[in-house]
């Protein structure tokens, strides 16, 4: 067991733990708590990205998700001033069916992975990829130029839409 593997288990455990806390969150009914755990999940995941040598994406992940997206969440939660909600009655039947469905999906996933039938099996011939920033940028501006440009349009559209939506009187 190398250092790398240890780190993997460490970060994977953290990611999953924080993920569970985002969803289940036994400490508080306050969405802020979930948001904070989401930040931690993202950060742990960035660690996993680093282990995968995707440094650029790790940085972007933290920058965009932790630095912007979740701050936005916090903003909204604060703006809405969601009260510390009274505990709503748990819908047991719904919960059980939901968990069962998710468990089914998970079961299928795990079975597929264990059987190695994904068609995604590691390409033994290919050397593990060193994800540098420069090759990624090169790819982005050559092969993926059109999607990249379309993405910019999407961002513009989202911007316009959000500005419109946040006008006071929404007609």
């Amino acid at each position: 067991m190398t250092m790398q593997d240890l780190m993997f288990y460490f970060f994977a455990a953290l990611t999953l733990l924080f993920g569970v806390l985002v969803v289940v969150n036994p400490f508080s009914r306050n969405p802020i708590t979930s948001a904070m755990f989401l930040v931690l999940t993202i950060a742990s995941m960035a660690g996993l990205f680093v282990l995968l040598h995707a440094f650029f994406l790790a940085a972007v992940q933290v920058l965009v998700y932790a630095g912007a997206v979740i701050v936005l969440f916090l903003f909204v939660i604060m703006l809405l001033d969601v009260k510390e909600e009274e505990r709503r009655k748990l819908k047991l039947a719904g919960l059980i069916t939901g968990v069962a469905a998710v468990a089914a999906v998970l079961g299928i996933f795990l079975k597929v992975f264990s059987l190695g039938r994904t068609g995604l099996a590691a390409n033994a011939a290919a050397a593990p990829l060193e994800g540098g920033t420069a090759p990624l940028g090169k790819l982005l501006f050559t092969e993926y130029l059109l999607p990249f440009e379309i993405l910019s349009v999407l961002l513009l559209v989202a911007m316009v839409g959000v500005i419109l939506l946040s006008k006071k009187d929404l007609r």
Binding site: V39, A59, V60, V62, L63, G67, A68, V71, L74
Partner: protein, 348 residues
């Protein structure tokens, strides 16, 4: 030091990293303390006052006294505050500031160890990522206090930081276009060989935007709106006292130091000086220490500038602040990128 050579590479890495981290923190804490001290003295000098001069010779022990006071004061927590976040917020403010420093090369070489804690090849992106986390401390502080002035301060601050992060990020892109790497050591390497290879001379506009944005990011004057005492009583840290307040303070000054270090690295040649061959990696321990000294000299000079700025300018209004960020700096930075790109393209 034979035992050192017997250690495996990993063990060496862990050992030296630990030593470096300890040293950096060991330097940073006094630096913080004496920056505060310096600020008080300089402000007094500028305003023609005396300033703290009672504790120790020339008041040099004043920071110790302050720290002791902060530690010994009652740790008061308002009843209506959200406890966990109220406790968490100061810590969250300090940590990112410290983390930022990890990628900054504060010297060339000491022995065969390069004087940087983590020589990441996406160094600057890492910095920005960490800096962007700094918002949380302030937002949470504002939220946790559960009263209106801190809340407004928190909201203002986060909006301000997010806005200026963009201008800041945009302003440094030309730097990396010139250097061709995101690695900060590479940036320093690029600035060797003459005074005018310093990026501050090649990218004065970028430097300017970066510096002003850094003031805004660290909530320093003239952009200290989150804590503008006259409007918000003190902003997000209104409800804080004792050590928790000191931690916010610490966070602010760490941020200042980190941003100054960043500016030194990106624009002012880092640990290099264009004379006496000081711009080449050190071969002897003495040279290494000299490089560290040069670096600190530059950082301290920039800190002085920051402090000076604080007492020279009036505070901006909030809308002016936003206007400046979005409608002046962002377009300017974009234009700068385009111009740099065109020049590079014509040269190639």
């Amino acid at each position: 030091m034979a035992w050192l050579d017997n250690l495996s590479a990993t063990q060496q890495f862990v050992l030296f990293s630990a030593i470096k981290i300890a040293c950096v923190i060991g330097v940073l804490m006094p630096l913080f303390a004496y920056t505060v001290m310096a600020e008080r003295r300089i402000s007094a000098w500028i305003q023609d006052r005396i300033g703290p001069n009672r504790v120790g010779p020339f008041g040099l022990l004043q920071p110790m006294a302050d720290g002791l006071k902060a530690l010994l004061k009652e740790d008061f927590c308002p009843g209506h505050a959200r406890k966990i976040y109220f406790w968490l917020a100061p810590a969250i403010t300090v940590i990112p500031a410290l983390l930022t420093i990890a990628v900054i090369p504060f010297g060339s070489k000491l022995g065969n160890q390069s004087m940087v804690i983590a020589d990441l090849n996406v160094g600057i992106l890492y910095t920005f990522g960490i800096v962007s986390l700094g918002v949380y401390g302030i937002v949470l502080a504002g939220y946790a206090a559960n009263s209106k002035y801190p809340f407004l301060g928190g909201i203002r601050s986060s909006a301000q930081m997010i806005s200026y992060e963009i201008a800041m990020g945009m302003s440094v892109i030309p730097v990396f276009m010139l250097v061709g790497s995101l690695n900060l050591s590479a940036v320093i390497g690029y600035q060797t060989g003459g005074l005018f290879s310093w990026l501050v001379f090649k990218q004065p506009l970028a430097f300017f935007i970066f510096m002003v944005s850094a003031f805004a990011e660290t909530n320093r004057f003239p952009f200290d709106l989150p804590e503008s005492e006259q409007e918000l009583v003190g902003g997000y840290n209104t409800e804080y006292s004792s050590m928790k307040f000191a931690m916010f303070f610490m966070g602010e000054y760490f941020n200042m130091i980190a941003s100054s270090a960043m500016m030194v690295t990106l624009f002012l040649g880092g640990w290099t000086l264009p004379f006496f061959g000081l711009d080449q990696p050190a071969t002897t321990v003495g040279m290494g220490l000299l490089h560290i000294g040069i670096f600190f000299g530059k950082v301290i000079a920039l800190l002085g500038l920051t402090i000076w700025v604080r007492w020279m300018w009036p505070r901006f209004r909030y809308d002016q602040l936003m206007d400046l960020g979005w409608r002046r700096f962002l377009p300017l930075a974009l234009v700068n990128i385009v111009i740099t790109a065109v020049i590079l393209w014509m040269r190639s």
